[in-house]
């Protein structure tokens, strides 16, 4: 079968998976095994596309053309490939984990949950392979809507309120800011295709371009640039696998991925650099980055703290994009991968803690490592990776971002990165320290012995933790692969 | 004569204004229909005033038409014949509805019916 067809199949598999899940809802074992099978199949499909990209051949499919310059089309380029691999790969682990979690916590509406889950992945792949802004936009919205039921899963008022904020902010920013930007873009250039070197610089004045940049960057609510970050914490009402999906795999990564795509393929680095607003956004990102970290420090609820940590980590990538140097872009691309693994590990652990020990607050975790050594160990790895300590994957992305900052003569941003690293340490390590070094506060009910989360949960988080470690060594090829965007293999 | 030649139009405007006023202000459904009637009659006057020709007769041939014989313009008359029938049609339908409203609500005052609708 041709690669074009394969590409469509790869995107379609999760959708089919959703339908199958919905149909096989009556028998949950069948359903769950089918889902994991589908996830694996999807990953294989995406993986099988890799070779054709590696040998540099362009792979594009045009589904429908509504108007000249407006079409639903897919194409593979390195960045998208990386994102797709991360998404579909982690999908497997997340679904395995989700099964364990949902059963462990006896959640209701599991079928709806898993179906929407698959749709979300479908949307993520659509974003990854989108050949033009319109296609990306469509899947972006699909992603927003399909994750609403996941966030609102608990169904109580709090969940609903959180979900409304979530959806409201995402849809609002995308329709209120991103869509107008697209309309103007099309009005001025007659196309929305992603072209290397960008489409704007020739026929859009710098003034208009600067405004467009603002519209795009704040319009991509999923990148959680302040002041549009509120949706992320309020989405914390969701079950943990969802948080894992939202904060590590699908949603937020889709956001920053879009940021990168827009910066590279709509604006083009040179044009981007020449806009006054790119500096502005850079500072906003820097601010978000630090402010979010400081907020995270005050949060005592583990998931909330992780949420704000995510907000800050996303700004790394936005900042990298705005630095508009090849190195920083590559660093951003890498950070998508590294942060994905690190953060998903952390959330898996948080979930495991909740399922096994029903603990959500950090101060409750004293001595927890005695009960759940594996989980806490994985947590440590994940934390270190997010902090960016070698020998873990997180190191490389930060390293490249700093190089990029130097390369773009924004040395002050290096300082920003360093400060935030310190802050990362300050808010990510305490839980681990408490868990390992302090002794349980409530000696009474703590009987000795291991009380880990069910295997379904334990295995994925172990794997991702190991992943963070492995990535440290395989970072270079990925880096090179992303580098091919700019023709030069660094 | 010059301005007096506009007297018909002024009266038509006056009738129009009176009719509209009744339709807007009156709360009684039947009274509104009357206002509507006046309003429409005003328009009849507008059209018919157009058809008059100084020294002309009604648009009916009596005997053989002589040269230069002046006739009133027949077209507006045709239009207004039509419009009159529209008028009676609307009036009768409106009255019928008003009667039913009285039966269902026990009143033909808009204030009352609106209050009852808001309650339900």
């Amino acid at each position: 079968m041709t690669n074009q067809f394969l590409l469509l199949v790869a995107i379609a598999i999760p959708l089919i998976g959703a339908v199958v899940t919905a149909l096989s809802g009556h028998n949950r074992n069948l359903r769950d095994s089918l889902m994991v099978g589908g996830a694996t199949l999807g990953f294989i499909a995406v993986l099988s596309l890799l070779p054709s990209v590696l040998d540099g051949s362009v792979l594009a499919v045009n589904l429908v053309t509504m108007m000249p310059g407006l079409s639903i089309a897919f194409a593979i380029e390195p960045l998208g490939m990386v994102f797709a691999l991360v998404a579909s790969g982690l999908w497997i682990l997340t679904s395995v984990y989700a099964i364990g979690y949902m059963r462990g916590a006896q959640e209701k509406h599991q079928t709806r949950f898993f179906a929407c889950f698959s749709i979300a992945i479908f949307a993520a792949l659509g974003i990854a392979f989108a050949e033009n802004m319109l296609t990306l936009f469509i899947f972006y919205e699909v992603l927003s809507v399909s994750t609403y039921p996941l966030v609102a899963h608990k169904g109580n008022e709090e969940a609903k309120r959180g979900a409304r904020i979530y959806l409201g902010l995402l849809i609002g920013t995308s329709i209120g800011l991103m869509l107008p930007a697209m309309l103007v873009t099309w009005h001025l250039t007659g196309t929305l295709d992603f072209q290397s070197g960008g489409i704007l610089q020739d026929n859009v004045s710098r003034g208009v371009g600067a405004v467009l940049l603002l519209l795009y960057m704040f319009g991509i609510g999923k990148a959680a640039l302040m002041p549009f970050h509120r949706w992320l914490p309020s989405a914390m009402v969701a079950p943990t696998p969802v948080s894992a999906l939202l904060h590590a795999v699908a949603v937020v990564k889709a956001g920053v991925f879009t940021v990168l795509k827009v910066s590279i393929y709509l604006f083009g680095l040179d044009y981007l650099e020449s806009l006054w607003s790119s500096d502005l956004i850079m500072w906003v990102a820097a601010f978000t980055l630090l402010a979010a970290s400081i907020v995270a420090l005050q949060k005592t609820n583990l998931k909330a703290r992780l949420a704000y940590s995510t907000v800050s980590q996303l700004s790394y990538i936005t900042l990298g994009a705005m630095l508009a140097s090849e190195l920083s872009i590559v660093g951003g691309g890498l950070h998508i991968v590294m942060h994905a693994f690190g953060k998903i590990t952390l959330f898996f652990c948080a979930g495991a803690i909740y399922v096994a020990a029903h603990k959500t607050e950090i101060h409750e975790m004293d001595g927890l490592a005695r009960k759940m050594p594996i989980t806490m160990g994985a947590f440590l790895l994940g934390a270190l990776s997010v902090i960016g300590a070698p020998p873990l994957g997180g190191f490389w992305s930060k390293w490249n971002l700093m190089l990029g900052a130097a390369d773009a003569q924004h040395s002050i941003m290096i300082a920003v990165f360093l400060i935030s690293t310190l802050l990362n340490i300050a808010y990510l390590l305490p839980p681990v320290i408490r868990a390992f070094l302090l002794k349980p506060a409530d000696g009474a009910q703590s009987k000795p012995g291991i009380e880990e989360a069910p295997l379904f949960c334990l295995v994925p988080l172990t794997l991702t933790a190991i992943g963070t470690f492995v990535l440290f060594f395989v970072a270079d090829p990925i880096r090179g692969f992303i580098g091919t965007i700019f023709g030069s293999v660094m | 004569m010059n301005l007096l030649g506009l007297y018909n139009y002024w009266i038509y405007i006056f009738l129009l204004v009176v009719g509209l006023y009744a339709v807007f202000v009156k709360g009684n459904y039947v009274k509104r229909m009357i206002g509507l009637g006046i309003f429409q009659s005003a328009v009849f006057l507008l059209f018919i005033s157009m058809d008059k020709v100084e020294g002309g007769t009604g648009p009916i041939f009596r005997g053989v038409p002589t040269e230069g014989q002046l006739f009133a313009n027949p077209l507006p008359q045709v239009l207004i014949l039509t419009a009159i029938v529209v008028g009676i049609a609307v009036t009768s339908l409106g009255l019928a509805i008003a009667i039913r409203i009285r039966e269902e609500y026990g009143s033909v005052e808009e204030a009352d019916t609106r209050r009852m609708d808001d309650q339900s």
């Binding site: 509504m66 869509l179 107008p180 009005h187 | 129009l16 509507l36 239009l79 039509t82 269902e104």
Partner: protein, 499 residues
């Protein structure tokens, strides 16, 4: 010797007009009146399809009634937009009739149905008559046929509010028609003709005189009343809410748009060339009204607790878009207006068909009564949701094409364009909110009342109509060529410049 093919332009209105009185005389019991009405409408629909193809192939059609030369006799004129409107009207009527097959019996007593269906045919032929005629006064006559028939149908609604709604409709409608007549009167006074094309020519001698300006004002005002343009909209949500559900399907799709069609004809064919610098004034006025219209409409829709009412106000908003496009006075504006006229017809018809089904099952269109409908009537609610997406303007739906062209047309007018674009998107966001409000209640809330297992999903005919319309929404969202070409050629007709 004329063939049937040559007679089609007049048959499209004469056929239903000829059969309507017969329907009134049929025995009320049984489905006979419905059957005759439906078959007639189906034929009319077929004729309008062939008219569309004719227009696309050979350009505009004309037909002399009584074979008298225009402007002395009455001539029919069928341009691209007219043909499309005829298609919309007959199609909407057909959809409504199919829905009414199962939805009418529990809303209108059997002994009235023959009269009702007779009125239905009269309304349809009246509306078609308006869009295919080339004579200004003839428009008034057919306007009255359709309006009277509509008042009757609304008055026959299931609740007593139908009567008050109908009366309100009657007063506003009559005032609108009379204002229109006054406008025509002044144009006639200054030109001595009633044929629109002829008027356009002869107005050049007297262009920009006071009576002509007044005429323009009154025409627009009267038609705005008929079209429920804000703030003359009050009658419309009531009429839609309290009319029989099936009738609402028919009206929502086409009735007010016909007035907009006439407005567009006059605006561009007659007024634009002959108002001189007063045109900007007029356009500015219309534009302001339309903008207030779609913002206010969407806003009220968000807060209305009844689904039919919500959709009614959303129609106020959507018509605002069309009027905005008209007020731009550019050929891009014309295209946008025409495109949205068509697309809004199919989306609203779909939505009201879904609502008709829900009312049929739940006996209420209050939104909170419809909680959990998503589980009990999955197909219906899914159709509603998809049509709702089209209403919002999500890509791949017809609504997206409309919005896209509208905004592109708006953007042509510089800085003002940016502002308008933002306003349009704001109101789209409001649309997201009010559609979402319904979806959330329908899917994520426990059912208020459990339907008996046998009567859960909507009856087959309704579902067929609903889904046909929903698919149409996607079809014309993915391949809008037909609509676009009609719109373009109409724009060429009216402005002389293609886009």
């Amino acid at each position: 010797m004329m063939t049937l093919y040559d007679q089609l332009p007049v048959l499209v209105v004469v056929l239903p007009l000829f059969l309507a009185p017969l329907v009134a005389t049929l025995p009320s019991r049984g489905k006979l009146p419905w059957l005759v009405a439906t078959i007639t409408t189906a034929l009319t629909f077929a004729i309008s399809i062939s008219l569309v193809t004719q227009v696309l192939e050979t350009g505009s059609l004309t037909y002399l009634l009584g074979n008298w030369p225009i402007p002395f006799g009455i001539g029919l004129y069928i341009g691209p937009f007219s043909a499309m409107m005829a298609l919309i009207i007959s199609g909407a009527s057909l959809a409504g009739l199919i829905v009414s097959a199962s939805a009418m019996d529990n809303e209108v007593p059997a002994e009235h149905q023959s009269l009702l269906y007779s009125c239905w045919l009269l309304a349809m032929s009246g509306l078609i008559g308006i869009v295919i005629t080339g004579d200004a006064f003839n428009v008034f006559v057919f306007m009255e046929i359709s309006s009277l028939a509509s008042y009757v149908m609304v008055a026959n609604g299931p609740t007593r509010q139908g009567l008050t709604a109908s009366f309100k409709y009657l007063v506003t409608g009559t005032m609108g028609a009379t204002f229109y007549l006054i406008g025509v009167g002044y144009l006639y006074m200054m030109t001595g003709t009633l044929n629109m094309a002829d008027m356009a020519v002869r107005l050049e001698d007297v262009s920009d005189t006071l009576p002509v300006i007044v005429a323009g004002g009154f025409l627009i005002l009267g038609l705005a009343m008929k079209a429920a343009l804000f703030p003359m909209h009050a009658w419309m949500p009531n009429a839609y809410q309290f009319a029989p559900s099936a009738v609402a399907v028919f009206f929502a799709a086409c009735s007010t748009k016909v007035a907009l069609y006439v407005m567009l004809r006059f605006q561009f064919q007659i007024l634009t060339p002959n108002l001189g610098n007063h045109l900007e004034l007029l356009n500015a006025l219309i534009m302001t009204l339309s903008v207030i219209g779609f913002i206010a409409g969407s806003l009220i829709a968000i807060f209305s607790d009844n689904l039919k009412r919500l959709l009614g106000y959303s129609s106020v908003a959507q018509l605002g878009y069309i009027v905005l496009a008209i007020s731009l006075g550019t050929s891009a504006g014309i295209s946008a207006a025409i495109i949205h006229t068509f697309n809004h017809a199919i989306m609203k018809a779909a939505l009201f068909a879904a609502v008709a089904a829900m009312v049929l099952r739940f006996g209420s269109s209050k939104i909170e009564d419809l909680a959990g409908v998503g589980k009990q009537m999955p197909l219906t609610m899914l159709g509603f949701a998809l049509a709702g997406l089209s209403l919002i303007g999500v890509p791949l739906t017809a609504g997206f094409i409309s919005k896209w062209y509208l905004i592109q047309a708006v953007l042509e007018s510089g800085t003002l364009g940016i502002l308008l674009t933002l306003l349009i998107l704001t109101s789209s966001l409001m649309a997201v909110i009010y559609i979402w409000k319904v979806i959330e209640i329908a899917y994520f809330q426990p059912a208020r009342q459990e339907l008996p297992p046998g009567r859960r999903e909507a009856p087959a005919p309704v579902l067929i109509v609903l889904w046909a319309l929903v698919l149409a929404n996607f079809w014309f969202g993915i391949d809008p060529e037909l609509v676009l070409s009609l719109a373009r050629s109409e724009a060429v007709n009216l402005m002389g410049v293609g886009k």
